[in-house]
Amino acid sequence: MEQVRKLLDKISVEQIKIELLNTAYGNANTLLARLDPRTLFIWYLFFGIAPWFIHQEPVLLGMFVFMVITTVMSRISPLIIAILCMGLLSQAGYMLVASWFFGGNWDTIMPLAVLTLKLSVISLASVTAFCAMDPEKLSDGLLKVGAPAKVSFGIAYGYRMLPNLLDEYHHIFLSFRLRGKAPEKHGILYWRSVIYFVKIAVLSFYPLLLSMAKRARTTVEALETKGFSYAGYDAEVRRIKLAHLRMQGRDYLFLAVSALYVVLLFSLT
């Protein structure tokens, strides 16, 4: 449990805030980041759906190569990609193992490999498309394609309030720790300590529910005085807010190149 405790000590609220900022706004200068959100949506809609219905291995492989290129171009943190790959491979792994109990054999590998390939293309497409957009761009883009105003409000509010909520949660959690008493014996696999900490993590939400309720009331009052109507943004406000979104030459170029590549893949196989 010492490790976990040390970890808990180390995860400072400041640290999390800093990491969040860097995750959100770290990739602003890549080529993909300069594209219009709608371009990225169209692009994602194709590469995120089409692979489900494509069963030619060479085409999938070609798409995978393309995804790897765009992923590298958008400078996504290797950690996220590693986690993604681990998840996909382990899932395929235990499906394979389980299938042996039901009479599977080495022939099972091939379809599983194809499935994994599809999933990789889809995941990489979403990672590239959505990590390239900073939160404002994503929320403007969603607003533009007709998502409810609540979604874009929610994203903005998240970036505004999360640090405060983390601080408050941290304080309450500390109050529990400092006034309570950690179990003296850790138990096998530290199960006693794990239960103790998880219990605190859950109980800390009781106070937080009440204080968040107080916050929500002021916030909604303020929203009302700031003219944020709940029926949604009217068309005029949407237009003014999104006036800066423009499809430009590079957007069309990017889509055209992608399309050309896909056509090429199909025609070669």
């Binding site: 976990v4 995860i11 999390i16 169209i42 994602y44 995120g48 759906i49 219905f53 494509i54 996220i80 235990y94 499906m95 193992v97 299938s99 599977g104 099972t108 379809p111 599983l112 194809v114 499935l115 599809k118 999933l119 995941s123 979403s126 939160p135 994503l138 533009k144 394609v145 007709g146 409810p148 609540k150 994203i155 509010y157 998240g158 909520l165 983390l166 998880v198 993590a201 939400f205 009781y206 529910l209 009440l210 968040m212 309720a213 916050r215 929500a216 009331r217 916030t219 909604v220 929203l223 709940y230 949604g232 423009r246 499809m247 430009q248 030459g249 889509l255 399309a259 056509v263 199909f266």
Partner: protein, 291 residues
């Protein structure tokens, strides 16, 4: 629909408060569960999947639709977008499944002070959610692998793996992080949190006998009714605007460039559809011959 009429009515701003409350807290909890380490043995994992008790509690105490949608959106925003893991369409499916499950759970409870009702609603909510996710996962493999039935052992193993993880999630996360905390929180918060939002607690003047509340037919009917209610209310309340791909295409680029790119996109779409159709036809034909 009759279920909704029995609920008390909230003003728009009160619904907004419930929405913000649910979104922020469930979003925060999602970040925290990401930090808690997990223990994993194949499909069986002892991990803290989610703190489902937060949306459950709020759905039971307040307006179930707004609490449910708020929580799902909170998960997408805090747990995915802010951590740089937004997954596009996959999120939409999670969003709908989770909102629906929480909404049904909240609708099942008529008297927040009745612990048995609260408990049943909590575990039902988690079960519905896990059921939907399992079905979606199985569906993905089915769609993604050509001629699934032809591959020996795979179909069975997928079903078994999903079944095991369903049971694991319902029994582990469901009991520890939905059932117990919800039963602890709801009676404590009832009558206490509502005035903070400037509203009256849900009244529970309606009395039902235990049999009436717990009969399986009632539960099934309620779930069906709730699904309908959910969809209807969701459509009515959401302010989905018509998609506006508006005119800056033509405004700014009135030249040939647009037509080339649109033509290329149309071509890609056409090729894809053709491939899809031919694949389907082949798969269908083989399926019949197998049978």
């Amino acid at each position: 629909m009759s279920l909704m009429k029995q609920r008390y009515v909230l003003t728009q701003s009160q619904k907004m408060m419930v929405f913000i409350l649910s979104m922020s807290l469930y979003g925060l909890s999602n970040m925290i569960t990401e930090l808690i380490p997990e223990f994993r043995f194949g499909p069986i994992e002892l991990s803290v999947e989610y703190f489902a008790f937060i949306p459950l509690t709020l759905c039971i105490l307040f307006h179930p639709l707004y609490a449910a949608v708020g929580a799902s959106l909170g998960e997408v925003i805090f747990g995915e977008i802010m951590l740089g893991q937004f997954g596009g369409l996959g999120e939409l499916e999670k969003f709908l499944a989770f909102s629906l499950a929480m909404f049904i759970a909240g609708s099942l409870v008529r008297d927040p002070k009745n612990r048995r009702q609260v408990g049943i609603a909590a575990i039902t909510g988690v079960a519905i959610h896990q059921m939907i996710s399992s079905m979606v996962d199985i569906g993905k493999v089915w769609v993604g692998i050509e001629e699934l039935e032809a591959v020996p052992g795979l179909a069975e193993s997928v079903v078994v793996i999903e079944g095991v993880s369903f049971l694991n999630d319902v029994l582990f996360s469901g009991i520890l992080f939905a059932l117990l905390p919800t039963m602890y929180l709801v009676p404590r918060l009832y009558g206490k949190i509502e005035p903070l939002l400037g509203m009256k607690p849900r009244d529970n003047k309606m009395r039902y006998s235990i049999g009436q509340i717990l009969g399986p037919r009632v539960i099934v009917l309620s779930i069906v009714a709730a699904c309908g209610a959910f969809i209807a209310e969701f459509m009515a309340e959401s302010d989905m605007a018509l998609i506006e791909w508006d005119a800056d295409f033509v405004d700014t680029y009135g030249d040939w460039f647009i037509w080339v790119s649109i033509g290329a996109a149309a071509l890609v779409a056409l090729v894809t559809i053709l491939v899809m159709v031919s694949r389907r036809r082949n798969a269908g034909g083989k399926g019949v011959s197998h049978g």
